[in-house]
């Protein structure tokens, strides 16, 4: 099964809608709760990052019997120093983003912890693509 969603820049009213929709789908498919939780936490963090730090983008989710592959691709500033960005506590979140409850610098580490495979392709001035895989078996 394949699902596609759009992410809008700076739209914190709707941010998280895609992850919420994926959560419902996984529940309907009868995926076990522990795998649902780590899948949607990883996806949600990536979705919020695309809203908060980039200029929006797309989410593609593929689900089959053995794994869930999620690709969050944004147009945005890119991440100049990925090692730094992966560290717990590192954040460049704006005041507006902090007001929404984000900016702890925990999102990328959370994604790493919750997914089985994580690939981040990023280019300064172009954008960032985060590919996360969760194995169901």
């Amino acid at each position: 099964m394949h699902y596609t969603f759009n992410i809008e820049r700076g739209n914190f009213t709707d941010a998280g809608q895609a992850s919420s929709s994926v959560k419902r789908t996984l529940k309907q498919l009868g995926v076990d709760p522990a795998n649902i939780k780590r899948t949607v936490v990883a996806l949600f963090e990536a979705e919020i990052n695309a809203v908060a730090h980039a200029y929006g983008g797309t989410i593609d989710v593929d689900i089959d019997g053995e794994k869930i592959v999620m690709v969050v691709a944004d147009q945005g500033p890119g991440i100049p120093n990925l090692d730094l960005a992966m560290q717990e506590g590192w954040s460049t979140a704006s005041a507006k983003v902090r007001e929404m409850g984000y900016g702890a610098g925990m999102g990328l580490p959370n994604i790493k912890k919750n997914s089985d495979e994580l690939k981040i392709d990023t280019e300064v001035g172009v954008g960032t693509t985060v590919t996360m895989t969760v194995y169901l078996t």
Binding site: A15, G16, S20, G101, M106
Partner: protein, 114 residues
């Protein structure tokens, strides 16, 4: 501790999804930082927060939270209440500060998450 007992202890008002009378809350976690909330297992846990917006509900939904206690007299708007109902999350809103809410619930026997 039942959801209604918590509401009574903090002089709170219940909004959002209807209370599940069978749900037993055992632990509490206080945070305004949503990515911190997503780091932990929130089974049988009430989130105590002063952050009152759509993202509080989205994060709670992802974290599998069922009860959120909102302090400092913050008022959830219609949009947020709708999200709470969709995600089956009961909101207790209280005038008390986060420190006071935490103290009351700790004294009443809720366990810290860690």
């Amino acid at each position: 501790m039942k959801v209604k007992e918590i509401a009574k202890l903090v002089d709170g008002e219940i909004v959002g999804a209807p209370v599940d009378e069978t749900y037993e809350v055992k632990k509490a976690f206080a945070s305004d930082l949503m990515s911190d909330v997503l780091r932990f297992h929130m089974d049988d846990t009430v989130l105590i927060t002063g952050l009152c917006n759509n993202q509080t509900m989205r994060t709670s939904e992802m974290a599998d939270l069922r009860v959120v206690l909102i302090g400092r007299d913050k008022q959830p708007d219609e949009d947020m209440l709708e999200l709470a109902e969709d995600a089956d999350i009961t909101i207790i809103k209280s005038k008390y500060s986060i420190f006071k809410l935490s103290g009351i619930l700790y004294a009443a026997g809720l366990e810290p998450l860690y």
